[in-house]
Symmetry: C2
Subunit: 155 residues, 2 copies
Amino acid sequence: MTSSRHPQHSDRDNDESAAAQTALIDALGQGTFVAMGAFTRIAAEHDLSLTQLRVLGILRDRRLRMAQLADYLGLDKSTLSGLIERAERRGLVARTRNTEDKRAVDVFMTDAGHELAEKVQHDVRLVFAPLTDRLDAMQQRSLTETFRDTLGRER
Amino acid sequence: MTSSRHPQHSDRDNDESAAAQTALIDALGQGTFVAMGAFTRIAAEHDLSLTQLRVLGILRDRRLRMAQLADYLGLDKSTLSGLIERAERRGLVARTRNTEDKRAVDVFMTDAGHELAEKVQHDVRLVFAPLTDRLDAMQQRSLTETFRDTLGRER
DNA sequence: TATTGTTATACTCTATAACTATA
DNA sequence: TATAGTTATAGAGTATAACAATA
């Protein structure tokens, strides 16, 4: 019984193809944790958790309701209350009651939040540059495309 | 004054090169968080935190001392005590005093730990396959290489 | 009735500081 | 003295359940 994914190829080809795919997925897993470690370190240098770092990244060009932000982050709305409360206490974000729907609360970044987000972005580029620098511009563009095609906004 | 990174290229080339690099880094950041979300979800389906998931991944083919494992994870040794205590309580790992150095404690996975790690790996491959499937085998191999070259074992 | 957000509660994750046992 | 690990403590992150206000 021949695998159906690539019908005109032999079983051996399919085995090799499957091996290439699991190798990629495993490498991708490794890479994810390494990159995550780098982000965690950068965040910590600015006294931010990884989640707070994401909040800054998301709110950079958006004003969202609590529930929407929770959705972006994949977290429960109750978690957001604490999260945003702490970010607000630090002066990075602010909340206002929505005027149309008085149940809703809008969250947005303050100037201080934007400043910090910019510093963080600068550091991120600084940290990853030595790695991406090993690739030439064409490889970089191709890899960027691949990322957008595969991991661009799932969830 | 011409940038020195690629001396025989024009300023405009360098600008474009820099743009390609920041675009890549930004896409890589996006991708990291998306992938992390996927890992978090998979872990949660098995009642594991991301950190516990990593512990299983690391101990899969290694027996380590507490301090070594802390180093792999980038965490303080005091954090490990609690982390491993909870994993041990769940029967996923076990600890034994090292016989040579009686201060040290070796950690290793139990059979139940290995079984769970296998299930998790299966799920990971299942979740990421639809994404990596969009690439042909050659692209997959090339991307795997790129990952290993750039994000393979930093820290 | 349903939805938006907050609060109470409980647990995990994390680091710092102080400690015990061994080297 | 220095190192390996644990414990006490405190704070952040997280979800579930119960709640108040609004739709």
